[in-house]
Symmetry: D2
Subunit: 352 residues, 4 copies
């Protein structure tokens, strides 16, 4: 990976590597600037944090308790730690962010083992949960306690409210909690044209990692307790877990700006629309095969190996599966039609 | 602790609770806004991060390797983990930030035990190190590996370069590394009118937690390897340690702005000057006894118990030692003469 | 699981649940009694421990360094911890003892993630290693460092020296170490009629958990460094890892007795022979299908579901896979021909 | 430390280094031999373990739940882990076994910080507990949850039942649990001529590490829940904590033999009597000053530096405090009058 052309003389260009390659939405920076007045108590005992916590109650229901943290790995690890003991286990799809993108942090810091299930589309099914319900009560085995799903999934697909409801029911029937890694929850809600609650609290998600960074924040995530109460000791978990910001107002105010109006949906819907535009444009190109449903802001496609490197020299993106010549293209809140069209033109040219 | 008056109608006021109750310096916000252009690779492979790492080499010497993290606890824990194994130990003053303000994170995540020494002024002496050099090679005992000092100390005092040099020599003679928790290193350098290198790399500090948040950043800290090389695996330590920012440019650019010119020194010198002004003004008030040397941006004082609560109703600050009626007043980069004078007037009035 | 008939009036009977359901070989108790003379220094600085460490050098080569521990889980965890950092990973077959029978201790205490591969016979192949060599150098991914195999496998099969050599070469080519969980290494050596070195040090095993308990000891295991030196700090790993026995002589003398003559081979060969006898007798029974090669002291078989419970009422054994109606029968150093024949008669009767 | 003369031609001699330098009492070996009959279910589901657990109920009350483990460090760590979360803390005397003799295992595996208090005689007082009750509810501070005392103390002194009761009351008043490291509880009970319950369950000890190894066992310890129930998940804590013996009967039967009759008291009273004999004989020797009350089986004394090494060449013992020329002499269940008298004669000769 190399730095992109943002420092060259040309106008900055949006790439397709990841939604976290984007910057922050201007409204977020404006909110930060507005909060930058005088002294407030550090570590979250301030009016900005109160307000932002209120936004989460508006969106997720009055019982929702949100705790702001620095990053997504921290959100996942702290949330899971809050509801588990080290001999327990987390059932999740193979390739989940907690499984392959957090450098083993979940296992190391919670002690819990991850029990994974291969999936074709990134989505867990009830039978996948039941497959791991063996050795219950047997002291030699880790004991499943949490089911973790990602919304949107790592493959850009989206769980419907009914699918979430079925998973929650299955989990609860076996005394498990349902955790949702919602790093891109906004994209899922925009895709389904629902509010946030209909995808989380209502269908039974107990515990949510709510992502802001990939949806236009400067950098902030939240651990949100929905259908399970936040343990009284969670504040210590966050502090000991190295995720307590001293100047908390600057994390909180980002969420206030994101969730106070419809910025969360605007940003997500925009990114989703650009992915659809991209998918539509490439779908019929010779040698290109889109491999996953394009439901949110990711396009997975198999393309001829020979075009990958030349295309990467013009636009940054990742090879997802080298063996299959499968690539991932992601759009962001700031992707423009011109970015998409320029990219498609470059691809078409290389394919010719 | 309660939120302060920043949301009331009156002009925002600077308090004396902590330098992390201040906001961000306007130049920092401006730098963030400038970096908010187009896409760059996430996680630090971007030109802003390269530039900021270069700033650390300018200030600390060509071998300095800086890694940016979210917070101070993370910086301390990751730095110590980088150079220790779990059966080892860290010698530090009783009351060090790692000892009492990080909710046990250092022990939990490094495995290392802290071996503490009581001090009158927050400063460790060579004999304090040697006191803990027992049971070396004995498998039942933890094995000291790191000496950790804070600059400035938790009591607002400052180590001279010679003091640091002597501690480093003592540590190295016993095959220990010297770690500096430099959450307020800038204040120390401003106090001594030295550059940063003269307090760290030159006298032999191996490993530094460099603080930005308390010196006017929005929020960013750095683990800096000075006289010991960064282990090749440190990038994994940071990621697994939940301290790797995806939009790294926004952490990095803050350091670029802080260290690129003299903002670091202006901010620190300003805070120090306000503490001196405060100390001078209260020193001769009846019933007030300043208890530590005022070398940087903290004033510790014993005041009559009866005035504490009424004073706190007007200005926020912490009681340091309830039994002794000792309080701590801290100044920040944004404290004004009016803030100080208003505070002193309030105190004088209550004492009368 | 229920206690068996050892306290009833009838003569004690050997069951087929596990080789750790057996007691200790009389020569082991005799050795313990002989060592029970006067005072010796605790924690292993004694002549019995010296002698036992020498036995390991005789069997595994002059560079072999053995450390005695209480149990098998401790041996695996400490050995792996000795050669890894928490961001690294261990490649092993799905269903390995470290994967499913140690309640997550390896992940919790080493921090390392286990990367598993499904196998039909419990044996890892070189391609299984290579499948997990992705994301090397990528900080978001755990980094493989150890390949772990069990000898005999959890399915009673045995790696040949050549198979071990190929795995070791593959591991070493990718800068990985080869760990062997040798809880039943003696059974493998007896099965192949080799010495211990030919299965371990010679073909390139770096690190061994050597099992004694399942081969007739009262209770003792060893971490043995073969082709990688014991780290200088391993004594601290053992102590901090809660595996340092104060009356070490009583662990050590068991190994001296086991390895000083041919007791290790006698016990293992005896158990293997009884498993062969059992397999041969049941192989042609109607409704019985032996599912794995019977190479050591375990017989895996599918039997009609209706006979399982009645058979378990007479002899203790475990159902391995309920869905497949697959059971596991294990023999031990003390299993007699009468035990086997009585068991077979009972099975035949129930099948009729 | 060097191995002692047990392998030389002379009759084995008892030294004064530690009670864990002794072997096992013959009645213990006999009990192990009796249990070595046939197969029983591994991991504790056997009649021997049932019987031993019953012995603990006889001695400590019907609610006592005992779990057998390999060693004392394991007992302390697992017991504390069972009742804490990683952000909590344990208050104990400086120099407690958990503080200085377990290589940091308590911190590493429980996550809890130890909050220590210096003492003159190894005994904690109520004020020592209260000194650490600061920062309660403050997320930056670890939260005290357990008070841990050793009976007998590391300095050979003994808490009376009233002293324990007062500590328990203080702990409970502040919502803390009282843990007792009873590695030498039998010696305390013998010294005070009480039963075991009067020193533990009755005065309010919640959680006990019961020591067997130092009182004549081959090697076994127990975690015993007295006034707090064993958490339902404790069996997983033990297994994951690498302290679950497969041939559990051999641990259990040792406790059955120790506690079934009066062997526990005979062994402890014997050791205590020999320490008294030793203390009485040396007390009036010129240059010898006994520094702690000799209440159990340890004698602490200052002796002239010049005699230490020559005396150690004849009898093994440890220097406790090199600076003070203070040594520790411990007696065991097998120490004879001849051992004591020979040792005193040697000391007298060297002093002359």
């Amino acid at each position: 990976m190399t730095a992109m052309d943002s420092t060259s003389g040309t106008a900055p260009r949006r790439h397709f590597a990841s939604d976290n390659n984007a910057g922050a939405h201007p409204e977020i920076l404006a909110a930060i600037a507005r909060a930058n007045q005088g002294h407030v108590t550090a570590y979250g005992d301030d009016p900005f944090t109160d307000a932002a916590r209120g936004r989460f109650r508006e969106h997720f229901g009055p019982q929702a308790e949100a705790f702001f943290v620095f990053g997504g790995t921290g959100a996942n690890v702290l949330g899971i730690q809050a509801v588990t003991l080290p001999h327990q286990a987390v059932i999740c799809p193979e390739g989940a962010h907690i499984d392959v993108d957090e450098c083993g942090a979940p296992e190391r810091f919670t002690g819990c083992k991850l029990l994974t299930v291969p999936t074709a589309d990134g989505k867990l099914r009830p039978a996948d949960i039941e497959r791991h319900l063996v050795g219950i009560g047997f002291e030699h085995h880790v004991q499943p306690r949490v089911v973790s799903i990602s919304q949107t999934t790592e493959l850009g697909t989206v769980y419907t409210p009914d699918e979430v409801r079925t998973l929650a029911a299955t989990a609860h029937r076996h005394d498990l909690l349902l955790h949702m890694d919602g790093a891109r929850l906004a994209n899922a809600a925009a895709a389904l044209n629902t509010d946030l609650r209909s995808l989380t609290t209502e269908p039974g998600v107990d515990l949510l990692s709510f992502g802001g960074t990939k949806n236009g924040l400067l950098g902030a995530e939240a651990v949100v307790f929905l259908n399970t109460p936040a343990p009284a000791h969670f504040k210590y978990v966050r502090k000991q877990g190295m995720q307590l910001a001293s100047k908390m107002r600057f994390l909180a105010v980002q969420f206030d700006a994101l969730l106070g109006g419809d910025l969360w949906r605007r940003n997500a819907a925009h990114a989703n629309a650009k992915a659809r535009r991209l998918a539509q444009a490439v779908r019929n190109l010779p040698g290109v095969r889109v491999t996953q449903k394009v439901e949110a802001n990711a396009v997975f496609a198999v393309i001829p190996p020979r075009v990958i490197t030349p295309l990467q020299q013009r636009y940054h993106f990742y090879v997802w599966n080298e063996r299959l010549s499968e690539v991932r293209w992601m759009t962001a809140f700031d992707t423009t039609d011109e970015d998409v069209d320029g990219f498609v033109a470059a691809l078409r040219e290389l394919l010719a």
